[in-house]
Point group: C2
């Protein structure tokens, strides 16, 4: 009965109009596990890192009761490294460096103690590795959520198509949904994706919020309008962490519950952008999360009368 996430655990260098950091914890599985840790404990992680990850960095995970038994440390090698610079509007960025390093031959082995996995979040990764991870599980989890990006649509489309048949919920951004389906309308894009057999699709629109599509339902959550976005890095992964964390906590997969999961994803992402990398996610209180969750809801609530 546990939550497992598989993805990158990495170092990032980030430059925004507000400042820069040369080396901060990054990677999809880092954001996902830390965000989800506010809903369930432990969160199990499968990833691969190099020797440059020190005990100081591992402590960040342990402080959040994230189980790192499945993080494979490769002797003499370096962790995945990404470096990017945001433009002034914070809505676009240039990737300056991508060093796959240990990710080149990542084989996501699942420790025996993780095999009871009920909720699986496949972070953005090569779909071949995502598929390998799924096959390394002896029993299919109750819920499989997958995140992906345009890079895999460009380079590994046939493998992405394969893994999409195996998942329950796909999370991706609006441009990716358009690219995946060749449909500009997000409604049409979502219908095409759902026709592959998925139960739900979550389309993230950044500052414009997120759309949840089921076979017969649509739900929308706005992003909180902010005076300042300090650093958007990891916001999408943090969304995924809050989303699956809430579902793993409640074990309720009704549409009503999935809606709340999208609000929790939005809530956690709104914290993420307030500081560099995952910094703001390291010491949240339950009250802060509860208040922010209510703030998101209040943005759109109205009395039910015309």
């Amino acid at each position: 009965m546990s939550l497992l996430t598989i993805g990158s655990v990495a170092f990032d260098a980030i430059e925004t109009p507000f400042g820069k950091v040369d080396k901060i914890i990054g990677g999809a599985a880092s954001y996902i596990s830390i965000a989800a840790s506010y809903f369930v404990k432990p969160v199990n992680v499968v990833a691969v890192i190099g020797e440059d990850f020190t005990s100081k960095e591992m402590e960040v995970f342990h402080n959040r009761s994230v189980n790192t038994d499945g993080i494979n440390v490769k002797k003499g090698e370096k962790s995945f490294f990404w470096s990017g610079r945001y433009h002034n509007d914070m809505n676009s960025r240039d990737t300056l460096v991508t060093e796959p390093n240990v990710m080149e031959d990542f084989n996501p082995e699942i420790p025996e103690s993780y095999q009871d996995c009920e909720f699986l979040m496949l972070g953005n990764l090569d779909p071949i590795i995502q598929m390998r991870a799924l096959k390394n599980l002896k029993k299919r989890p109750s819920l499989v959520v997958l995140d992906t990006m345009n890079f895999w649509m460009d380079t590994k489309r046939e493998y992405l198509d394969e893994i999409l048949k195996e998942v329950d919920i796909l999370s991706l951004n609006d441009e990716e949904a358009r690219q995946l389906t060749s449909e500009y309308s997000l409604v049409k894009a979502a219908k095409k994706i759902l026709s592959l057999g998925l139960k739900y699709v979550v389309i993230k629109k950044g500052e414009h919020g997120a759309l949840l599509f089921g076979k017969e339902n649509i739900f929308f959550v706005p992003a909180i309008p902010l005076e300042e976005v300090f650093d958007p890095t990891g916001a999408g992964d943090t969304f995924a962490g809050g989303f699956i964390g809430y579902l793993a906590k409640t074990k309720d997969l009704s549409f009503q519950s999935i809606k709340k999961a999208v609000i929790h994803g939005t809530t956690m992402a709104s914290f993420c952008v307030e500081k560099f990398g995952p910094e703001r996610l390291l010491d949240l209180t339950d009250l802060e999360i509860k208040n922010r969750y209510q703030e998101v809801i209040n943005l759109t609530q109205v009395e039910y009368t015309v």
Copy 2:
């Protein structure tokens, strides 16, 4: 005790990926008055047209109980004409032709029978004309709402600044809000606008919905995700018509009521984009509007429990 709108009544030629029309009723005051007519009757209009507007076109207004006594017909002249072509994504368009014609020396005289105006919607117009209209009213209306666009920020900024001091609510789109305030964040932009003395600002984000900012409150309404946008022409003006129409109907200027006005604006705009020009707005039923209003609300509603 009445609703008055002042703005352009015009002819448009529109080309979208779905087809084209060479001559269809257009102009801010047309959309505003027709949309508002579903909430209050009559809606009074002040505008200027040429002799090319025939009784067939005037009938469109009369069928919706729009009072056209304030529409000045200039003998031997032509009405304002705009022609535009939408790009494939329907989010951007090229203006092909703008012929001001009768609008060149539009003097918005207010008929005596309109002088009891309680709710005034100043449609997008030269701010000098908007100011003239306001001065031609013997008594300040209870509520003055103003719509504007980037063109006036570029060319008549000082006059726009002047009229902004006289209005209660400004309605504009996100790019215009950014240009007006030199702030990228819409929260900062709204604060700057409110600091001029306005009570509320509505920032329209097209397919991404609309934000309502008060001094201490923010409210957000999503646009209904659509499979197809047939023709976005007039959607912003239709929004304004639904917005002020609802307020004129209820005469309630509480934040709760302004929220509902924004939802009604969104509702009416969602109909507008379904056909060319104002066509879809000519024969709506109260039930269609009620159901669509509920659909907008349902998009974001969630039970109030964590």
